[in-house]
Amino acid sequence: MRFLALLMVMLMGACAKPPLVQTQSYVFGTLVDITICGETEEKAHAVSNQILQDFQRLHNQYHAWQESSELSKLNQSFALGKSPISIGPELSDMLIQAQVLSKQSQGLFNPAIGGLIAAWGFQRDEFTPVEIQDVLIQELVKANPEMSDIEIKNNSAYSTNPSVKIDLGGYAKGYALDMAVAELHKQGIKNALINIGGNIIAVGQHGVKPWRVGIQHPRQPGPMATLDLPDGWAIGTSGDYQRYFEQNGKRYCHIIDPRTGYPAQGVQAVTVLIPPGPNAGVLSDVASKPIFLSAPEMRQSVAKSMGVDHYLLVDAQGEVTLSVAMNSRIHWLIEPKSLIIQ
């Protein structure tokens, strides 16, 4: 009996409960948390620092409003209607992928509306109420910047619509997650959990159990639910409680509806759970927004068109709608006052 126990412990491999090495840092304009299980402290710190540096590079290179970033330079070129300028292969890949996703979401995911995001004051580090410039907003909506206005060929790009201003805010964190997973695999790390501003992807497990994540309650300080995140799965939430301002008793969050030019109303948070795949991270970031912006009767079909089986939505009244698949995985800590399973 003792032999069996010893054998089991050995077979469980390196990741028994400790050692957990957790690194926290403020990069990417947000809080990044990397937890590595079952490696020596030196290796865990070395790999974490490498990943954090990569994140910082991504942050600087594709910064939406710092004028020196590669992305800003591209936006400036778009605005001036210039002929194609050359861009790096990474940006090229990102833009192409964003185009595909934008089409898939029927334009609800639209990184080309940087102009609108700036008009609402969300292209800043802190958010204070802004004077709502309705005229400007209507002009921008009418100008209809879309990802499909961008032509990308041979690592160069130009835009047929000068109002296109790319803001990868709803995409970059997901991209960074996928990148980090690739790096972890390359370094031979088998068990880790990466959290970029709340967006999480899992590698391996936490010892003998899967990684477990908590889901923030949109209006209270703690988690409202937990669920297990098996190897390769990713989870992302779009909420109105992190980036927003309030004016005249109304809340304006950073998720702008490209059709109206105004922030979405009526939804507090959308969480999506993405199964393993090369773009799990990207999808966990992107896919929650189209659902957030959809009318209630459209949510289910929009989720489906984004390839999302597991989603959860908390509306402005605190009522929860979730998919059958999500319902089977979620463990409520704070029971919602009402629940619709679809």
Partner: protein
């Protein structure tokens, strides 16, 4: 005890008391062990852990971050951001944290609070 222990049929009352006793102990475990209040608060500044305090005291902690001094209040089992130089005051609006795993963060001043105490019900928070 060298003489043999006769295994007589257990009495109904004994079995009942034992059963109720087991339920009683089980209930104690499930109530007292799941909602155990947090024991410590961990304050992080930037990448590093700034300090860890027991929640069993009344104390104000001042932390100097990149944009100024943030005041954190600890009061017998709960903690909160009392004041902070950030423009949005999201951290202050989070209010009191009183259960294990709860956290609040002042992003502009790079300060975070987290309540620790025994096992967290999850490894990381999605938000």
């Amino acid at each position: 005890m060298k003489s043999s222990l006769k295994m007589t049929k257990p009495l109904f009352g004994d079995v009942l008391v034992l059963f109720l006793g087991l339920i009683f102990v089980g209930v104690l475990f499930s109530t007292l062990w799941n909602h155990a209040p947090a024991a410590k608060v961990q304050i992080r500044l930037g990448d590093k852990i700034y300090a860890t305090y027991s929640l069993d005291q009344n104390r104000t902690v001042e932390v100097k971050g990149p944009i100024g001094i943030t005041r954190i209040l600890i009061d017998h089992g709960k903690a909160r951001f009392a004041s902070s130089p950030c423009p949005n005051q999201y951290c202050v609006h989070q209010g009191w944290l009183s259960h294990m795993g709860q956290a609040a963060i002042c992003l502009p001043n790079q300060i975070s609070l987290e309540l620790l105490g025994g096992e967290k019900p999850f490894d990381s928070l999605n938000y």
